[in-house]
Symmetry: C2
Subunit: 190 residues, 2 copies
């Protein structure tokens, strides 16, 4: 509705990613506002796929995922902006303007974080995944498969308490709060 209110704007809608791709084949667009909880299509890959079809399109990702966790992978994948679904109309308008003016839009926190990561990259290790030890990664993977602390302990011969310690470390390092977030995080940062 906000977009349609813009004079001379032609707005198209697609109910899922496949339909969006079909539209992208037929018309050249200036801006794509994309909901990453769409039924079809995977998250970061969608940005790349769209870029492949239309290299110059502006992409504003709109998502209900927690920003501080998930904005970065999208921006890195080539999105021009990332806005939370819970944002106000004003924020949305501002995001659209930014993007249309060739700027990257994201919340200050996210931009800061991005800045830090880009400049902190002392050559290589910029992914928080790299900061996980081998064992932490192993346990993280088992966690995302749905195994319980106890099961993992049995599996790799550790006390449940040790597994739990690893788990907290992993959560802390990646900044996630529960297994769902961990799973999404690992999916996005494959």
């Amino acid at each position: 509705m906000l977009l349609e209110a813009i004079p001379d704007a032609k707005v198209f809608k697609a109910a899922d990613f496949i339909k969006a791709l079909n539209l992208l084949e037929k018309h050249i667009f200036e801006l794509l506002v994309m909901d990453i909880n769409l039924p079809h299509g995977d998250k970061v890959g969608m940005v790349e796929a769209v870029r492949m079809k239309q290299p110059n399109i502006l992409i504003l990702v709109c998502s209900s995922y927690e920003e501080h966790l998930y904005a970065l992978p999208f921006l890195k994948a080539g999105a021009n902006g990332y806005i939370s679904k819970t944002a106000s109309s004003d924020e949305f308008k501002s995001a659209v303007e930014h993007v249309l003016n060739g700027k990257i839009y994201a919340s200050p926190a996210v931009l800061n974080n991005m800045f830090e990561i880009l400049f902190n990259a002392k050559g290589n290790d910029n992914s928080p995944l790299d900061t996980l030890s081998a064992k932490e990664i192993e346990i993280a993977k088992l966690l995302t498969k749905g195994f319980s602390t106890k099961q993992i302990g049995k599996h790799i011969n550790l006390s449940a308490s040790s597994v739990s310690t690893y788990k907290s470390k992993i959560f802390e390092k990646l900044g996630v709060n529960n297994i769902i977030e961990l799973t999404t995080y690992l999916e996005l940062n494959s």
Copy 2:
């Protein structure tokens, strides 16, 4: 490799769903073997998308998800077969043969289950989701967002123990064993 061993077979590979779709635009294929853990593209939607491009293609879904939980959605979406990634070469060959001969391939357990569901459908309710009460669905959704039993209890004014009871009921009804499976299940059976 198994497919390439077939005389006269022309085998194409795609590293992700987008690339697969591109190939499907350029050539007509007899059989598509598709890995549903591909980086791009969502699960059940991929089957539908492929069918849209090539209505007569035979689709064999290959996945590491637990069969009894996840085969059905794919078959319902129009796949011609579902095989586990852990299957033996012989099983795989058999699956391919079945599918090429116009038969549906799935493990006996899955077929049975499918049979039951089709004939048990006393008119309408064939989705296990329908067997969840409104409150169970509400709690299931909150669970897939990563909320803890306690948090949910607070949120909807129930004792943690009641929430936990709902949780077990949900798990039991859907046949899942942990939150990860619940999430995947709900994703697939949107």
